[in-house]
Amino acid sequence: MQETPEHPPEATVSVHLRLNGIPVTIEVSPNAILLDVLREQLGLTGTKKGCDHGQCGACTVHLDGRAINACLRLAVMCEGQAITTIEGLANEGLAAGDALHPVQQAFLDHDAFQCGYCSPGQIMSAVALLEDRRVAGDIGTVREAMSGNLCRCGAYQNILAAIQDARLRLHGQEGGDDA
């Protein structure tokens, strides 16, 4: 990534992203927050705003494959990076066409939500968690790893069940220790 001249506060900056697998260029001001750009400018309203301060996880997206809080990231900082939102999960993942990602399917099967407001963030965190082989698969570790996603409806038990079930679907009986 090459050094850019300084952009004044009122400037519009072009940022090149790979968004849900598709290259896009967006024009944003230097202080635009990724979450707001996704929702307001790109119309991807699946990613939710809860606290706007990193304290709830509703805004979780993948940045180069890692779960992050889109509310604490400047859009201009994402130059050249890959962003996946809940809208792109099925297409980017194992599923084709309209099929759901196995984690989305597991959330449905386990009734892992009530109002559903936290669900996109929960699912994005769960997918990244299941792909990160550094994180152990036991319930205690999974609870901690998912603690960045609050659920006001308290669907935690079913969310955990959905994740552990998806783990089996994705990684088999050993719970993912085959890598």
Binding site: M1, E6, M77
Partner: protein, 332 residues
Amino acid sequence: MRTFAFARADSVERAVERRQGEPASAFVAGGTTLLDLVKLDVMRPSRVIDINALPLKSVERLHDDRLRIGALVTNTDLAYHPDVLADHPLLSQAILAGASTQVRNMATTGGNLMQRTRCPYFRDPTAACNKREPGSGCDARDGFNRMHAVLGGSDQCVAVHPSDMCVALAAIGATLTLQGPNGEREIDVADFHRLPGATPHLEHDLDDELIVAVTLAPPLKPLGTAYVKRRDRAAYEFALASAGAMLSLDEDLIGEARLALGGVATKPWRCHEAEALLAGKRAEIAAFEAAADVALADAEPLSHNAFKIPLARQAIVRALRDAARVAREDNA
């Protein structure tokens, strides 16, 4: 949200250069402290310099066997780094006891050292806070100070240093490498954060400089470590009191001990006197309790946080006990 100019730095020198002559400019690494506080209008940079393109993202083993951590290594990558797990499990334990997966994925080593207090009055621009607005007073002293410091406070400020990572660094011992307009210098991590005294707005010994790396002291051998964190909920919460302990054992006698506290002090709090007391003692609860009493001898409660003293005492005793257990298993 406040507006600011934005620039990206492609070298350490250019990053430092861009910062010069613009006191209200700020580096951004993970952004988890900076953007949080810009949104609250507590931090007001006129210019934000993105340092994420700098080549400071690796953990290297130096020829003297010490580990050198680039300032941009994320908290997640640091906690799971095989060399860190092998040499300095305390660092990994402390990091994983803090924040959330998402925040740790974004947060960097340099940013963590520079994170600001979570004092609610500091975070509220309408409240009096000497740290945010020198001379405005301290609403915490006579206010809701349940979360505040019992060690290292002053009349001017009792805000807690919130980092878990820095507690581990205090116990392990580390050297920070800083790059400024006039070149590079090194500073002991113990001298980096300042006590509030009469100038709580001066939080650290950084002067127009960029943190480039953190080099860890060699580990104790054989080593037992434990990080015990007490908080209002089991995860995703800052410490009310935390203790990081490192012990080396010779049979059942303590060789060397290290102890540092979080959640109770105005800076990451190393307990030298307690460590001295432990050296050569039998590794048993009575010794751990005596060490805890020494570590907390100067603790001064505020109106709402006297509970922190017994809580910290318990965290210290458990951290030492657990570290001794690990060291024993390691010896066996």
